[in-house]
Structure formats: C-alpha cells, structure tokens
C-alpha cells in the first residue's frame, strides 16, 4: 500500500510538472492538436455506415457512354447514370422514350460533364455531357438523376470533344470540334486536301432557361485545327469562351509527329455574346440548317492566341481574369491576363492574322509561363489564389500561386510553385469542386489517372482506372484515398450534396402520362385489329393484368405504371425471350411497344427485387397463332 502511495504521489508530481510546462507553451500545443485534429487520412475519408458523403462527384464515364456518381470524401461509387448506352440495370434504352432518345446508337464517348450555373455558381439543376464519338450532347436532370435529352448529331460538327462548357448563367452550352471534315458533312474531299477543304466548328447550343432543353443556336467556322478543351469566362472575361487546339500545322497524317512541329498552337478566344448578337443581326449564312458565322467576315467574334506546344486544358480562374493554358509538350503552363487581352484587342495589338482571324500579340497579354513540370494538362483552382495543374508525364499535381506576383516572383517563376504530389499513374484531368465557378469549394481535389498498372488486385489485362482523393486544405497536398472505376473517367464535376434535393418518387399528382393508372382495378386490355394496348399496374407483388392474350403479328403496347409512392419500391418488367427489361420507378409510367413475332406463352416477371413476394410477381403473355377465333381471345 505504502509503495503504491509513493508511486501515486510521484505520478501526481510529474503530472503537475507537465501541466506547468504545458502552461508555458500553451499556444503551440493548441496549434499542434488542431492540425492533427484533421485526423488520419483514413478518418478523413471514412464515412461510417448510415452516414452520408459531403459531395457528389459526377465522373464522365468515357467510352462507357455513362456518368458515374460517387461520394466525396468516401469515393464510394454510388450510382451510374446511363446516358448514351443502354443500361438494363435501370431499364434505360428499352422503353419507347429512352429508345427514341438513343436512336440507332448503342454507345457514346462522354468526356466533360458541365453543371448548370446561375450567376457563375452551380445551381444544381442540370448536368450536361458530351459525346465525342457521335457528335451529341445530353442533359441530365439532377431532380431525378435521369437523362432527359440527347441532342444530335449536331450538324457540321465532327468529334464533339470541346464541350460541355456551360456559360455563366447557363445561356449556352459551348461545343468545339476535335476533328475537321469537309463541310457540310457528307461532302467528299481527299484527306490530302485537308488544309483547304476541311473545317472545324464552334457551336453555341442554346439552353432554355426554364426547361433546360438544348437546341442548336449558331456556329462559327474555324480552320481545321483540332479543338481540344475549353472553358467559359466570368468577371472581366464574361461573355467569352476559350479553347485550345493542337495541330495548328493542319497535318492530316502521323499527327503524333506532324502536329507537333510548331512551338506554339493557337487557342481560340471567342466572344460568344458577340457571336449571338451577330447571328441575331443576320450576319450568318446557313449551313445544313444552322446559322453559321465566318469569323473572317464578322470581326470581333474570334481571336487566336499562340500558346505553348500542343495544349490541352485552358482554364479560367475564379476571378475570370487569369486564363491558364497548359501546353502538354512544354514544361510550363501559360497565364494570360484577360484585362490585357481586352486592351490588346482595343489597341489592335495583333502579331499576325490567320485566315482573316487576328492573332493577338502574345507578349502583350502573357503574364508568365509557370514551370509546373512535365506534361501539364489541366488546371483547377481552390479559390484561395492557387492553381493545381495535372502533369501527365511527371505523374503528379503541381500547386502554384496565381498572379498577381511580386517582381521577385515574376523574375523567378519557380518560386510560385508551392507543392507537388505524385499520383498513380499518369494523371489526365483533375477536379476541384466549383473550380469553374466564382467560388470553388477548395477542400478536395480528385486526380483522375489514366493508368492503374496493377495497383488493384489483378483483374487481368483489362484494367480499371484509378482516381485519387487529395486533401488541399493544408499548405502541402495530402494523398487521402484511391478508388477504381470502370473505363474511363475524363473530367468530372463536384457538387455539394446539400445543393440539390432529388425526388425519390415521382409524385402521382405530377403524372402526365395519358395512360397512367393508379390501382390494379383500373388495368385494362384494349384490342384493336393488329394491336393490343395494355394499361398495366405494378404494385407489391402483382401485375395487373396478369395475363395478356394476343395474336402473333400483333403490336403490343404496354403502358406500365408503378403505382407505389414509396421510396426505393422499384418494379421491373421483363418478358421471357423478348430482350426486354423495363424498370419503373415509384410513380412512373413507361411505355413499351413490341411486335409479337413468336407464338407461344411467355412468362413476364418483375426484375427489380421489390418485396418478400417479389418472386411471385409474374404473369403470362399468350401469343396465339394467326387465325385463332377472336372469340377465344
């Protein structure tokens, strides 16, 4: 006992000493604990079961034709929104409406998603995506996470890579072509005549402010450069849009070499407000039904700016003043001062002219060439005065300080590089939430890497893509987490989770489908010669009607309403052997039309698990041979 007491006293004395000591350096320990208060990387990305992420991450799905939705900080894949490719999981591409939207295409190449904006900030209404392969764009509603519209193929537009860039108040969705072809499309000219006979195009697609519907507004004819990536202006650059190009050489073969000969390629600075005005004033000529401006004939609409060799991204900073273009074959990223651009245009300070388009004097508008590292591709902003540039060749992200710079910094631009972090491997795009708005979120950066090279447990030769979550709240960047996706995210958008409030059922009272029914009792089979129309209800755990009888050769039209109004009470409808799977969300009505070509009896069943008696939710389609007396039908 006594011994214990002595120990106890000793411990107390030590504690008192420690307290006293810590009292002297109070502030320093407090600081230390607050910086470690962020927790370990695991703690920072951990979202416990039942808890929710802070942000949505909308990845483009690349040539999967889809959009992936993940949560940040967990990086968990939450959902996939099918856009350009059928998706039986959610019944996309099987009902009449989505089939019609997809047309004859079975895939698309989604590159750059763009959120709708109001006053230069995300308004949480729509997400626009492009299809590089088949020259289309699509609109997804964030009210229900469904593709609402596919527009295209856009006339006179080949290779829709340079989109989807949304203007400050979602007036336009701006598009530029990656490929050039003889125009109007369908015209033949030998590839050898590329420089003279081929053209690219910038398109302004009008977005309806109320419905979000997109329509082709106008186009601007361009030389056959390969337009790459772009962004839209704000603040001093309000009303402008920017695209980089490669192949100013106008080569048509071995582009790898032949399009990499010049030290500078042209970026296009497009005054889209002036273009819209010029079209309204009747300065356009029609090509394939679209008003088209020739920039040589309509001054003030388009300017060229020389930028570092074979650039990829050209990104407007949150203030709208600094335009940052990354030349992927140069170790620098170039910063332009848009105020100087306006001054140069006013003073006609042009160094050259290309096919009637003024080339702005580079030296008059450049603020600096920041030596970020090898293979700079794309820049994002944290809203705290820093840019983050992805470095493909270096497999890294560089953090650097935006202008205004001090004279000393200007003299040695190495000094504005703040930090660099390795990513795995070969980063393409990167995204910071709200980077293309006036107010970036500035806490997380997601690096979208092109190669995973076996960092995952092996899946054989076909490999997933990696995305890495980086904490950018500190002075140096910190790698937090990595996740994998199907091929292949290009760009992404991040949106605060509480910026939207999606519906979980389609409210019955909002239903506009003329054949919707709301109880099993209302179900109906209408027979006309050669056609059977069914108004069907789906409810736990029954279809009504359960039996449909028709004659071979009949057209069967099914209007299926999921009468449920309960969240996640989703029903499916598949007919055996008919390559058909419709998924109907609560309160939704879908229409399917099919020609009955086989006699026999075909069970139909609910494909989306709904209830304890889901398995029992089935019925029969009886297809009688021709000549069966109608009385027995």
């Amino acid at each position: 006992m006594k011994r214990n007491r002595i120990h106890y006293t000793f411990v107390l004395a030590a504690l008192a000493g420690a307290l006293f000591a810590s009292g002297c350096s109070d502030s320093s320990t407090a600081k230390k604990s607050s910086s470690s208060g962020k927790g370990s990387p695991a703690e920072r990305s951990y979202v416990a079961p039942g808890e929710k992420d802070d942000y949505y991450l909308f990845y483009s799905g690349g040539h999967s034709g889809q959009v992936f939705v993940a949560g940040i900080p967990s990086m968990r894949h939450i959902f996939t929104i099918p856009v350009f490719a059928p998706s039986p999981g959610v019944g996309y591409g099987f009902d009449d409406e989505s089939k019609q939207m997809l047309g004859d295409y079975t895939w698309g190449d989604v590159h750059h998603p763009g959120l709708s904006k109001t006053d230069g900030l995300y308004d949480g209404r729509w997400l626009f995506v492009n299809d590089n392969a088949n020259n289309r764009v699509a609109r997804i509603s964030l009210r229900d996470f469904k593709t609402k519209q596919i527009l295209g193929p856009i006339p006179n537009s080949s290779g829709n890579h340079g989109s989807s860039f949304v203007t400050e108040n979602s007036e336009y969705l701006l598009v530029a072509t990656r490929f050039s072809v003889p125009l109007p499309m369908g015209r033949f000219a030998p590839v050898e005549e590329y420089a003279d006979e081929f053209n690219g195009m910038v398109s302004g697609l009008k977005i309806d402010a109320a419905s979000g519907d997109i329509s082709v507004g106008w186009q601007i004819l361009t030389p056959p450069f390969n337009w790459d990536l772009g962004s839209t202006g704000k603040g001093p650059s309000s009303g402008w849009a920017f695209w980089t190009s490669y192949n100013t050489e106008m080569a048509h073969s071995k582009l790898e070499v032949n399009a990499s000969q010049l030290d500078r390629d042209y970026a296009a600075f497009v005054n889209w407000k002036a273009a819209a005005k010029a079209v309204a004033e009747g300065k356009a000529t029609m090509m394939d039904g679209v008003p088209m401006l020739n920039p040589a004939e309509v001054p003030g609409v388009m300017y060229f700016v020389p930028v570092g060799k074979s650039p990829h991204g050209i990104d407007v900073d949150p203030s709208g003043r600094w335009i940052v273009a990354s030349g992927k074959l140069q170790p620098t990223t170039t910063v332009f001062d848009f105020e100087k651009v306006l001054a140069a245009i006013a003073a006609k300070d042009f160094q050259d002219e290309f096919r009637g388009v003024p080339v702005i004097n580079y030296d008059a508008i450049v603020e600096g060439e920041v030596p970020v590292g090898l293979g700079p591709l794309h820049t994002q902003y944290d809203g705290k005065g820093n840019g983050y540039t992805s470095l493909y060749i270096e497999s890294a992200v560089a953090k650097w300080k935006l202008p205004p710079w001090t004279e000393a910094e200007k003299a040695d631009l190495e000094s504005v590089i703040q930090d660099k972090i390795q990513v795995h491997f070969n980063i393409g795009h990167l995204v910071i939430g709200g980077s293309d708005t006036r107010k970036p979120y500035g806490d997380w950066l997601v690096a979208m890497n092109k190669l995973s090279k076996g960092r995952n447990i092996s899946t054989g030769p076909a490999q997933p893509e990696t995305s890495q979550l980086i904490d950018i709240t500190g002075k140096s960047m910190e790698m937090i987490y990595e996740s994998y996706t199907d091929p292949e995210p290009h760009f992404a958008q991040i949106l605060k989770a509480d910026a939207i409030n999606p519906i979980e059922v389609y409210p019955k009272e909002e239903s506009e489908h003329s054949h919707a029914i709301w109880s099993l009792g209302e179900s109906e089979i209408i027979r006309e010669p050669g056609k059977v129309t069914v108004k069907m209800a789906a409810v736990r755990s029954q279809f009504g009607p359960e039996k449909i009888r028709a004659t071979v050769g009949d057209t069967l039209v099914l209007h299926i309403t999921n009468v449920e109004q309960t969240s996640d009470m989703i029903h499916g409808f598949a007919i055996n052997g008919h390559n058909l799977n419709v998924i109907i969300d609560p309160g939704e009505t879908k229409t399917v039309t099919l020609k009955l070509e086989k006699t026999g009896v075909f069970p139909f069943y609910c494909t989306n698990f709904c209830s304890a008696l889901h398995q029992e939710m089935q019925g029969y389609l009886e297809v009688a041979p021709k000549g069966t007396p109608t009385a027995s039908l």
Partner: protein
C-alpha cells in the same frame, strides 16, 4: 351566509339535502372552468387525438397514422397510410379507410353537442349540470375507447385466410408499445387526446370550487 329565501339545508330531511346540493348555483370560477371545457370540446373536434407509429428496420423513419375525430391521416402526405395498407395486404388485413369509420361522422357532432352543454352549464350555472356533463362525458369517453379497442381487435382478427402470409390474429396496442412481426407499434394520444384527459379534471374543478354553499355567489 345563505340567502334568506333559501331554507337552511340543515333543516331539510337527509334525502332532500343532496337535491339542494345539486341545485346549488356555481361560482364564477366554476363557470370559467366550464367555459374552458366548452372551448376544449371545440378544439378537440379539430385536433389530432391519437397516433399509431410503426417502425421496422427498413422503415427507420416510421409509418404514421394520426386519428382525428373526423379523419384518418397518414404521415408523409398520406403516403404512410397507403404504405401500411400495402403491407397489411400481405397478412390479409382489411384496408384502413376513413369511410369505414362511421364514428368519424358522429364524433364531431357529439363533441359540438358537448360544447353546447358545457356552455349551457356555464351560463345556467347549476351543480347538477356539472354532474350531468361529467357523467355523459365519462360515458362518451369510455365508449370511444371501447370502440377504438373494438376497431383494433376487429382489424387484427378478421384476417383474410387466403392472404400470402398467415399470422396469429392479434390486437394492436391501444396505448403503449407492441411488437407485431418485424414492426414495433407505438400508440399514444396526441394533443387532442391529452386535452380530452383534461376535461374530467376541469369538470371536477368546477364541482370542487362550488361545493360549499357558503362560496356560492351566483344568482339563480
């Protein structure tokens, strides 16, 4: 202390004394309490009386039905009632429909009647009326609770034998908490039901404060 035109109760035979007591006029406090009771009856006719809540693992947020004197209201804009009926069809329970509750037609009428009687008592101010109101209300209350129990019993016992799931007939809890299959059922009074409980207290108060002849100041 008694008014000169009233005979001294002490001089009456014992079997007349009670009658005298019942004829006693109510003092202003008791009358105010009766006015309050009248007001409560009106309020109760509009306020939710009772709530049944069902909670299950996949219904963490709960399914709610609120019972009013004249209507049945499902939570979540009515959707909860639809959902409960949807689930009940698996055990063959009859759908809960407002139209089946005939009491929702006469109960508001009865509450109005009670309000009128309470007003009359406040104005007329006789002890006998307090006692009448108390007796009538006790009967009404017991009958309502009995009817509620009977409803619960009937719904839980008249299960369709051809239903997908066969479960033992049961009586959902009238007040309290109960486990039914995967659901925990809670049944508790809401504001209207609680106020209903205040009525006998107020009536007793009206009786109590005018119980002594000496305190009777009312005219009559």
């Amino acid at each position: 202390m008694t008014k000169p035109n009233q005979p001294d109760p002490a001089q009456l035979p014992w079997w007349r004394r009670e009658a005298r007591f019942l004829d006693r006029a109510l003092n202003p406090l008791s009358r105010v309490l009766l006015l309050l009771v009248a007001g409560l009856f009106v309020a109760i006719a509009f306020l939710p009386l009772w709530r049944i809540t069902l909670i299950a693992p996949q219904y963490e947020e709960g399914l709610r039905v609120s019972i009013y004197s004249y209507k049945l209201v499902g939570g979540n804009d009515g959707q909860d009632l639809v959902e409960i009926n949807n689930l009940n069809h698996y055990i063959g329970m009859r759908t809960l429909e407002q139209g089946d509750f005939v009491e929702m037609k006469w109960m508001p009428f009865a509450l109005g009647l009670f309000a009128l009687i309470a007003l009359r008592s406040a104005a007329h101010g006789r002890m006998s009326q307090v006692v009448d109101l108390f007796a009538l209300f006790t009967y009404f209350g017991m009958f309502s609770i009995g009817l509620f129990y009977f409803r619960l019993y009937t719904y839980g016992h008249n299960l369709d034998p051809t239903a997908p799931m066969t479960i033992e007939p049961f009586t959902p809890m009238l007040i309290g908490k109960n486990q039914i299959a995967n659901f925990v059922q809670y049944s508790f009074p809401l504001i209207g039901g609680v106020l209903m409980g205040f009525i006998p207290v107020l009536l007793f108060g009206a009786f109590w404060f005018s119980r002594k002849a000496g305190e009777s100041k009312g005219g009559g």
